[in-house]
Amino acid sequence: MAVLILADHDNENLNDQTAKSVTAAKAMGGDIHILCAGDGCNGVAQQAAKLDGVSKVLCASDPAYGHDLAEPLADLIVKLSGDYEHLVAGATTTGKNVMPRVAALLDSNMISDISAVESADTFERPIYAGNAMATVQSGDAKKVITVRGASFDATGDGGSAAVEEIDGAGNPGLSEWVEDKVVESERPELTSAKIVVSGGRGVGSKENFELIEKVADKLGAAIGASRAAVDSGYAPNDYQVGQTGKVVAPDLYVAVGISGAIQHLAGMKDSKVIVAINKDEEAPIFQVADYGLVADLFDAVPKLTDQV
């Protein structure tokens, strides 16, 4: 049997999460195929074909798939599912939106956000905001899975899979896309960046967040934020790191003015090196930080920007 991975992309570039899902799929066993569903996504299919370990890329280019709407995408995956034992996607907002729908249509339970593959039917996944790790064994014939990108290295290039154009599976027409509100940024993508600088409630305002931006740009880092900072309007929602936001595991995570609530730690505690800058020496963030600096961030962050 084989594994089918739903590619995560924006019709131009393949998201790094797909290469991480390939690494997870290699441990499940069997051929690895990638489904690129999108609108004018042939270029993405070519990128997917280069990933090491992938033997076939299915490319379904159709306006129905242009905006990752769950209903048509799930129908397409279900139509293709006969040949596969594992149906896999990255645990991105697209994967989380589509895959449970696929699981329900196949009468399988969902195996969300896996952090390790023990065998073809046994997986580890974090529960309770990562405060416990559950190892679960699936009795379903079709395993429907999302993969936590921060727990797997991206598979490299080196493959030369065949790309096969396939037909879509129609559009039930239940939903329509209206608009995307996306801020274009030159900065690295949060979930694949080597360095992340995050700001929390301590940053104090949207204007002050510029301090975080400056040090991030000097380091070539992505910017993150705690839930408190996003709720307060200091930073946009797509910056949020935590249990219900993005999960990151960069080489260096710099937490600025972040106290370290459990739900924030859930999104960053697998980072290789954690730095915390906070004026409150009792802040829980210091319990997970490799290097802690008890200081006023308005004094320390500009200095840090100058010195790196």
Binding site: A70, R101, M133, L293, Q307
Partner: protein, 253 residues
């Protein structure tokens, strides 16, 4: 319009979770339990729709143990009109899987015929983020997940969704499934008079068998273990020292 709001009873978000020494799960004995925070946001949204005159009736549903009636009383005290308790397990440690929950909810939707089901996007215990999407698939309805804004007009819901790249706005036909994200609203606290009134609101008790659903689990929990612990780090005295350590000791910049 009638709205159905499923609510889950979970370990309170402020409680420190402890893994049991026999690795079978987390310790839920004598631990404070509350309504899943995302479900509170769903209940709040239903009440706001009712206050705006768009909804006539709010039905809250909870699936789990007998004590889930406390969670339903909270929903009733906030402003739901009536409640359905589905007693699916005897032991709080046996989590009812999203697939089984969605099947029970589908049967309830078939009976109650709501035009909208509002759910939390995920429960903070199993973190599965699946039930709403599964229910939508089973019903063949439209779905809008991770909602941070919801407007209903002319038989359709316009939903702003929090996605990885920012925000996505979609328009979904009613009847619809909407799962809610953190920033949709701030849930109210139930007032004491409303808590008293809630005790008189109707609550039915059902079982999965009443709906012809087999709620037995598909996943076997092999073990539950502690996450890897991080080693305690060091405090540095200055920005200079920090930069020095990051360059030489950690080698990350």
């Amino acid at each position: 319009m009638k709205v159905l709001v499923p609510v889950k009873r979970v370990i309170d978000y402020n409680v420190k979770v402890r893994v049991k020494s026999d690795s079978t799960g987390v310790d839920l004995a004598n631990v404070k339990m509350s309504m899943n925070p995302f479900d509170e946001i769903a209940v709040e949204q239903a009440i706001r729709l009712k206050e705006a005159g768009q909804v006539e009736e709010i039905v809250a549903v909870s699936i789990g143990v007998e004590k889930n009636q406390e969670t339903l009383r909270t929903a009733l005290a906030m402003g739901a009109d009536r409640a359905i308790l589905v007693k699916a397990v005897d032991n709080v440690e046996n989590d009812v899987e999203p697939l089984a929950v969605a099947k029970i909810l589908k049967a309830i939707v078939d009976e109650e015929k709501p035009e909208l089901v509002l759910l939390g996007k995920q429960a903070i215990d199993n973190d599965a983020n699946a039930t709403g999407q599964m229910l939508s698939a089973m019903l063949g309805w439209s779905q809008a997940t991770f909602a941070s804004k919801l407007d209903i007009a002319d038989g359709a819901a316009t939903v702003t969704r929090e996605v990885d790249g920012g925000l996505q706005v979609i328009k979904v036909q009613m009847p619809a499934i909407v799962t809610v994200d953190l920033r949709l609203n701030e849930p109210r606290y139930a007032s004491l008079p409303n808590i008293m009134k809630a005790k008189k609101k109707p609550m039915e008790t059902k079982t999965p068998e009443d709906y012809g659903v087999d709620a037995s689990p598909r996943l076997t929990v092999v073990k539950v273990s502690e996450p890897p612990e991080r080693k305690a780090g060091v405090l540095v005295g200055s920005v200079e020292e920090l930069v020095e350590k990051l360059k030489t000791e950690a080698g990350v910049i």
